[in-house]
């Protein structure tokens, strides 16, 4: 077994989970709320690629547009849905001072609502669509196979993490988001339009979800109304083991979770492989016993994002 190949394979799942965790980590940092519906935003982005119909055969809709328009189209759809969930499901609760667990329940409701709608429109039969055909190729470097889609996913994740961190630290809107995250009332008193700041954070999480939609479908070619749930769980667990409230922590946590899952898949004996997830989540518990604050939280952990 080639060790480098093993690590590259591990990165193929790690990179997908890292990007999911970044979106969940962002909303958690801002609102102290686990947005379980984040996975369903990813699912909406994937389904927006095809014509909404109950027919088995999915004809591409946005998925047939030229490359730049396709990306812009999916980004728009998912961002709009993310903004709508904030406006109609979370804002009113937040204003009444609802705590994180109430918001979590609300996000479950949003999640089921989106799933039921997609189930109603598209039926429960999985659909498929092929986008970015060129990305399905693999390149071989010194005998190690690397999927182009995996390289692109890693690059996109790093770029989005850097861009988001810069935006939150340097731009006025970003600083307002961080201020609202730190102390909502105080931020308002100091003239921050806090509602807008929080909506902006949701919009950003929509962009992150849309990026996952595109990269996920490019990799697998499939759509399923339940596809968001395991992603949301992985992203959430990734944020926790990375260290809640740290964006790089969320990314590294998500990456570690995916990589650990793939390494176990590769290294466990055949009889134990079906129980892979039991080992993965057992490992998560061990990590949290020793590092309850998360693996990648450093000195300035007081800050929320």
């Amino acid at each position: 077994m080639n060790i480098v190949q093993l690590l590259v394979d591990a990165a193929s799942l790690g990179s997908q989970y890292a990007l999911v965790a970044l979106g969940i980590g962002l909303v958690f940092g801002v609102m102290r709320m686990i947005n379980f519906a984040h996975g369903d935003l990813i699912m909406i982005g994937a389904y927006a690629l095809v014509v909404p119909t109950a027919a088995d055969l999915a004809a591409p809709l946005i998925g047939a547009w030229p490359f730049p328009l396709l990306i812009a189209g999916i980004l728009c759809v998912v961002t709009l849905v993310a903004l709508a969930t904030e406006r109609f499901a979370f804002r009113a609760l937040r204003k009444r001072g609802a705590d994180g667990s109430t918001l979590l329940i609300s996000s479950f409701a949003v999640s089921y609502l989106i799933q039921s709608l997609v189930l109603f429109i598209h039926t429960g039969r999985p659909k498929s669509v092929s986008i970015f055909g060129a990305l399905t190729q693999q390149v071989t470097i010194h005998g190690v196979r690397v999927g182009l889609v995996d390289i692109v996913t890693i690059i996109v994740t790093i770029l989005l993490l850097l861009g988001l961190s810069l935006y939150l630290r340097r731009s006025r809107a970003g600083i307002e988001i961080r201020a609202a995250a730190e102390d909502f009332t105080m931020a308002r008193m100091l003239g921050v339009r806090a509602d807008r700041a929080i909506a902006l954070a949701f919009g950003l999480s929509g962009i992150l979800a849309a990026a996952v939609s595109l990269l996920y479908v490019a990799k697998t070619g499939v759509l399923d109304f339940r596809m968001g749930v395991p992603l949301a769980i992985a992203g959430f667990v990734g944020t926790v083991i990375g260290g809640m409230g740290s964006l790089p922590g969320a990314v590294l946590g998500g990456f570690s979770l995916g990589a650990a899952s793939m390494l176990l898949q590769a290294l466990l004996p055949a009889e134990l492989r079906p129980a892979r997830d039991a080992f993965v989540y057992g490992l998560v518990i061990v990590v949290l016993l020793f590092r309850p604050q998360g693996l990648f939280v450093t000195g300035n952990a007081g800050e929320r994002i």
């Binding site: 193929s12 429960g124 995996d150 590769a266």
Partner: protein
């Protein structure tokens, strides 16, 4: 005391009023279909249930059954076990003489339990789990499906004998029981024909896995390609795995059971080739070799403006067909007599295929299945393959 009597009287009246409009009239016989038209099971139950409606139309067009008109009452069970049980109870109360159950054991079992308790025949359309056929629930329960393990044995037999493939790589999706049984059957038949060493690698994945990169690497580490591989799975996991294996340059023939049917998932793998699966009949886009099955597809298209997307839909027709044949032969709707006739079926030529039941086995383990080859995204039927003959057969 008086109020209690009044109470029960009112309840009784309410019961009669509620139940009477749907109770079977003297000149008709009811069939109940507690199946899902909503929720995720709808994708698997809708076409079998519609197919059953067509079977009922055909029977009534020929004058009915034992002088009675057949009426199919469908209740949408919404992919919910509690709804399924409730619907089956309502249908049994209305006097249904046969209950058609879901195309999946877990979804259909609540209805089968109700039917068994009421001594009503229950027949699943395409539920291929052995538990539908081996008296797990009871002797009134049948399935028109071909058992999953037998399906795996059939595709192995075909690959080894007709294609001459010697070595195989087996990849099991451990999420669904059907797929585990399918691969188990494949393994046992392949080893019988080609020897224990002929399985070069066994591996597993889960349907929702985003990446199968480590499975691909393990296969590539073998150093030389297997003659064929079987992926026991269903979409979406099946489509995603094939897309990734083909992308990694694994071009060997891929085999599959009935989980590969329908062309809806083919777009995940542009130019899908060298893919073989088997089914009860052709699915949309495939030419059906049997004239009676083709006539059914035409009738289906006429009534519902589309062909069934899945080749499994036809099993729903045979749920009604099998029961009606047994009723005619028994000359009675009596459950014991009808069951006795069904257990005498030996290669009974039904639309779902040649069907054999015995008092011990209420599912099919030796049925010829249609093998379909996909080249350049185009599915072509190769014929009905009979594991008992080791060859393609025609019986029509």
């Amino acid at each position: 005391m008086r109020s209690l009597n009044l109470h029960s009287m009112l309840l009784g009246i309410a019961g009669i009023v509620l139940a009477s409009p749907t109770l079977a009239a003297d000149d008709e016989v009811l069939i109940g279909a507690p199946t899902s038209f909503s929720g995720w099971m709808a994708a698997f139950d809708t076409s079998p249930t519609r197919a059953a409606e067509i079977a009922v139309d055909d029977i009534n067009a020929k004058g009915g059954l034992l002088g009675k008109k057949v009426r199919l009452v469908h209740i949408d069970t919404k992919t919910d076990p509690a709804e399924t049980s409730k619907a089956a109870q309502a249908l049994v109360r209305q006097g249904a003489k046969m209950i058609m159950t879901a195309c999946d054991f877990d979804s259909g079992a609540p209805a089968a339990l109700v039917a068994q308790a009421a001594s009503v025949i229950a027949i699943s359309s395409c539920g291929a789990d052995m538990k539908y056929g081996n008296m797990t629930i009871g002797n009134d329960v049948f399935t028109m499906a071909t058992d999953a393990e037998a399906t795996g044995r059939t595709i192995a037999d075909w690959g080894a004998k007709k294609k001459g493939w010697k070595t195989a790589y087996v990849l099991t999706d451990t999420f669904i029981e059907y797929d585990k049984s399918l691969c188990r059957g494949f393994l046992s038949r392949w080893k019988e024909l080609n020897g224990d060493q002929s399985i070069v690698l066994e591996d597993s994945f889960k349907n929702a896995d985003v990446s199968v990169a480590s499975q691909i690497s393990r296969y590539k580490d073998l150093g030389k390609p297997a003659d064929a591989m079987i992926i026991c799975s269903v979409p979406p996991g099946l489509a995603s795995a094939i897309r990734q294996f083909r992308s990694a340059g694994v071009e060997i023939p891929i085999l599959e059971g009935t989980g590969g049917d329908g062309s809806a998932w083919h777009s995940a793998v542009p130019g899908l080739s060298n893919f073989y699966y088997l089914n009860y009949s052709a699915d949309a886009g495939v030419t059906e070799p049997r004239p009676d099955a083709e006539a059914f597809f035409k009738a289906y298209e006429k009534k519902y403006n589309e062909r069934p997307g899945s080749g499994q839909g036809i099993t729903g027709y045979s749920v009604v067909q099998a029961w009606a044949k047994a009723v005619e032969r028994a000359g009675s709707f009596d459950t014991d007599k009808v069951r006795g006739e069904m257990e005498k079926f030996t290669d009974e030529p039904l639309l779902a295929g040649l069907t054999t039941f015995t008092p011990k086995l209420h599912t099919n383990v030796n049925r010829p299945m249609l093998i379909i080859s996909v080249m350049d995204s185009k599915p072509v039927p190769l014929g009905y393959y009979d594991i008992r003959k080791g060859d393609f057969v025609t019986w029509w």
